[in-house]
Amino acid sequence: MALLSEKCKWIPQVQIKSQKYATACPSIDIYNYHPYSGGGRIILALLLETGRIEPSEELREIVYKCTECGSCAVSCKFLNTLEPLEIIMKLREKLVELGGGPMPKQQEYIEAANKVNNPYNEPHEKRLAWLPKDIRLDPDAKVLYFVGCTSSYRRQEMAIAAARILKAAGIPFNILQDEEFCCGSPILRTGDVKTFKKFLNKNLDVIESKGIDTVIFSCAGCYDTFKVDYPLYREYTFRVLHTVEFFDELLDTGKLKLIKEIPITVTYHDPCHLGRNAERYKDWDGDIVNLMPLVSINIPPKPKRTGSNGIYEPPRNILKKIPGLKFVEMERIKEYAYCCGAGAGVKSAFPEFALQTAKIRIEEAEDTGADTLVSACPFCSTNLQDGIEESGANLKYYDISELILMSLGLEPEKLKEITKEVV
């Protein structure tokens, strides 16, 4: 497949709505040299594979200054069959194998996860410190809320909101407490597959031993990792849902009722892990048939992961159901949304890059006229809020579950009090 090297830098051409928001890739947008694009990184893989370059500090910097957001892959696969994101992930895996990766800061968090089961190096026993006293866990529940490291230690407001919404809907649920471990996402994204598999097995062993039907996640990263990456290494039978899917269902069935008006103008940021990357690989057991020299086809056609099966509508449905809330879209949305800048170990290894990317996204949000930016991922939350603070933007940020909670009738002020109290 020809590597045209350019389409990956832009959102799908037919979706370009302005010069300002035409680009797809934070890495090439900020670092400019061609190898910082999806196509450029495929060239790096080719150079490494053919021995034209060796692992080096320069190579490592370029390979890891990528959020693995997958936007390049969506644009590429509009017409082609190249898999830029998969090649980038394999390139990292190769660098780890050759001793050329990951970045030192990423290695630090991997070691922390190995030691205390979370990349933040926080005590494992404090994983549940956020849990409000009035929330009751049900050890026999068929629904498990997998909180994730970031919501447990850094974005507790998301965990609190999720738990309170479940309570409001009368859903019996459980949390793994000291048996919940890092999902492995931040480790997998660095290319350290061996360590990742250790966490995958630990989590699946526990969940499968408890007879759980459904696991829900408020963290897009954990959700994507369970949904898309785990099955590549080990199959499981329980259902996985992000809280936006679960809460949308609860709203549809009337178990949750949004009654309180929230008179704000909101725009929604699609997290990469909940959007384009949350698309499962589909099994394909077909044949490659040579029709004629140089031309072969897959029979039946091999499914392409194009980003079209991400979770796009549930969060929008929820926002549109909140009384008084005005919803406006950014230019780059859904499968071609611009990344927040935090993913794949970038926030820890290259905080300045993460922040610059967040500021680009925040400007796009501001240009909609919205006063509030909403998303559904703790990584996006942290990075976008850092970006808002750094840029001085006149935007408020909420996780979508916080808005649900407010619209259920809990005053925002009260929410803040609760957050303070438990943190």
Binding site: M1, Q13, K17, A22, Y33, L294
Partner: protein, 523 residues
């Protein structure tokens, strides 16, 4: 070849240290480009997709910085190769003594003049970017077949530039107005009205005195071999229909709300002879937004998003000599008129439109037609293609080329080194409502298969000889000394004049001539 530290420092002083990179990884990555492998093979080199590695990559942000970099290149006798959106081997250095000027930081739309119908852009504005901004004024821009992701500046100043919308938007050579040009010695030359002392503006490419547009680009451009173009004014055209552009669904299966006044016609002309009559007659009426001949095989590709999805389009694949006409209008009256004309023409020419009867394309086709994305469908079959030929001529010559080239192409198809399009795989479009025509022989090959790469190189080489022997015109990839020396003697010794131009503008050979012509005398 490593850049001396002292020189590197001087480049850094001009553009800032982070905008110069001489690292092994960056420079090696810039040595890759699409189609480099068969170009290498044609030049008796290993058929790999890499050119010589540049000594450094430099990212200037302004004309002044480009000037300073070029002057420094002159001082130290280092060659430069400028690139913008960077598609194709023409962007590659031809010697180990070259640096690359990657112009991606020069990405501003300077001006859209909706009254006088032109826009002024820097090198790294893409066609799609300019188009969406022009659409805000109900205007559009010409984009080459290479697609909306490439630079209009590069196409207008340095490349060839036929496009699917050429009946309406012309040819890159004809659309270029004022130009800002950093000459190979670092001086700035402004062409046409952009260079006026008082009240300068960009509306005209020629001023008093001889036109320099021909010297700047001629037929197919100098591919940075005669300097660096830092700003260009290009013509804008009325957007052919409503600019409301609504897509629903997800990539790649978008549903497009087809504008009210658009209609597609695909007709089988049955023979090249009849196609000639039909295309001239239709274009005489000046109603088409697109008017292209593709082989049945090529036609299935522009309606498909994967090789598998081509398989259910046999009714169009079996058309013998298809012609695609897209009409579009901004008002009901205009649309009714165009439809009526087409009705009369179909009747007069005894043709049937298969659209809506034998075949109905997905709505995304119309979106891609409006956004000039159809050329990229050429990659879906074998993953790689390149065009042999590339004539700009009368319809008669274009079709003679097409017909006469079939046996040669079939020879290579039989060897199994290029894709089997029955030898008929061409794309032909009219320019400016049939005033002249363009044809190129789309040739499918596999860049990852060495035999296919070599076969493609040999096919290209044979094509050049064939074009000369059979008097089929000059292909658009006649570039570099060897090719110019081959074609020049058959064409009024133009290569001697071109060489004089190169010598006059670049006596020190600082602008990399690998895809242009060198100043040195012909041996």
């Amino acid at each position: 070849m490593v850049l001396e530290k002292e020189i590197l420092k001087k480049f850094q002083d001009i553009v800032g240290s982070k905008n110069v990179n001489d690292g092994e990884v960056i420079t090696n990555a810039y040595s890759y480009n699409w189609c480099m492998e068969y170009v290498n093979y044609m030049e008796d080199k290993e058929p790999i997709p890499f050119s010589p590695i540049p000594k450094a990559v430099i990212l200037p942000s302004s004309t002044e910085e480009v000037q300073e970099v070029v002057k420094l290149c002159n001082k130290y006798r280092i060659q430069f190769k400028a690139q913008s959106t960077g598609l194709g081997p023409w962007n590659q250095p031809s010697t180990e003594n070259s640096i690359i000027l990657d112009l991606r930081r020069m990405n501003k739309i300077i001006k859209i003049d909706d009254k006088n119908l032109y826009a002024v852009v820097e090198p790294y504005v893409s066609g799609a970017q300019l188009q969406v901004e022009a659409m805000k004024y109900d205007l559009t821009v010409h984009m080459p077949g290479a697609g909306p992701q490439v630079s209009p500046l590069a196409s207008a100043t340095s490349m060839n530039g036929p496009g699917f919308t050429s009946p309406h938007t012309g040819h890159s050579a004809r659309n270029v107005l004022g130009v800002e040009w950093v000459l190979p010695n670092g001086e700035v030359l402004k062409l046409g009205s952009a260079g006026l002392k008082n009240h300068s503006d960009w509306y005209n490419g020629d001023g008093p005195g001889p036109s320099l547009r021909g010297i700047m680009r001629g037929w197919a451009g100098a591919k940075s071999g005669i300097g660096v173009f830092t700003k260009v004014a290009v013509k804008l055209f009325p957007y052919p229909c409503s600019t409301e552009f609504k897509l629903q669904g997800y990539s790649p299966n978008y549903n497009f709300d087809i504008p009210d006044f658009m209609r597609l016609y695909v007709m089988d002309c049955g023979s090249y002879k009849y196609l000639k009559k039909v295309i001239l007659r239709i274009e005489e009426e000046e109603i088409s937004f697109m008017c292209s001949h593709l082989s049945g095989y090529g036609l299935t590709a522009i309606f498909s998003h994967s090789v598998e999805s081509m398989m259910d389009k046999m009714p169009i694949a079996s058309l013998k000599t298809p012609l695609v006409v897209l009409i579009a209008a901004r008002t009901k009256y205009e649309f009714n008129y165009k439809q009526k004309v087409m009705e009369i023409l179909l009747d007069e020419l005894n043709l049937k439109n298969i659209i809506g009867t034998k075949y109905t394309p997905n709505s995304i086709f119309y979106a891609e037609a409006l956004r000039s994305n159809l050329g990229l469908h050429g990659f879906i079959v074998t993953g790689g293609f390149q065009s042999a030929k590339g004539q700009c001529d009368t319809v008669k010559t274009c079709l003679r080329t097409t017909k006469k080239s079939i046996p040669l192409k079939k020879k290579y198809i039989k060897k199994g080194v290029i894709g089997n399009d029955f030898g008929e795989g061409v794309w032909m479009t009219s320019y400016e409502s049939g005033h002249y025509f363009h044809v190129e022989s789309i040739t499918l090959f596999d860049q990852t298969d060495e035999e296919s790469v070599k076969g493609m190189g040999e096919f290209m080489e044979d094509n050049y000889q064939f074009d000369l022997v059979k008097h089929l015109g000059a292909p658009f990839f006649v570039e570099g000394d060897r090719m110019h020396n081959m074609f020049g003697p058959y064409m009024m010794n133009y290569h001697k004049w071109l060489r004089k131009i190169k010598k006059a503008f670049d006596p020190n050979e600082i602008a990399d001539s690998g895809f242009y012509i060198s100043a040195k005398s012909e041996n």
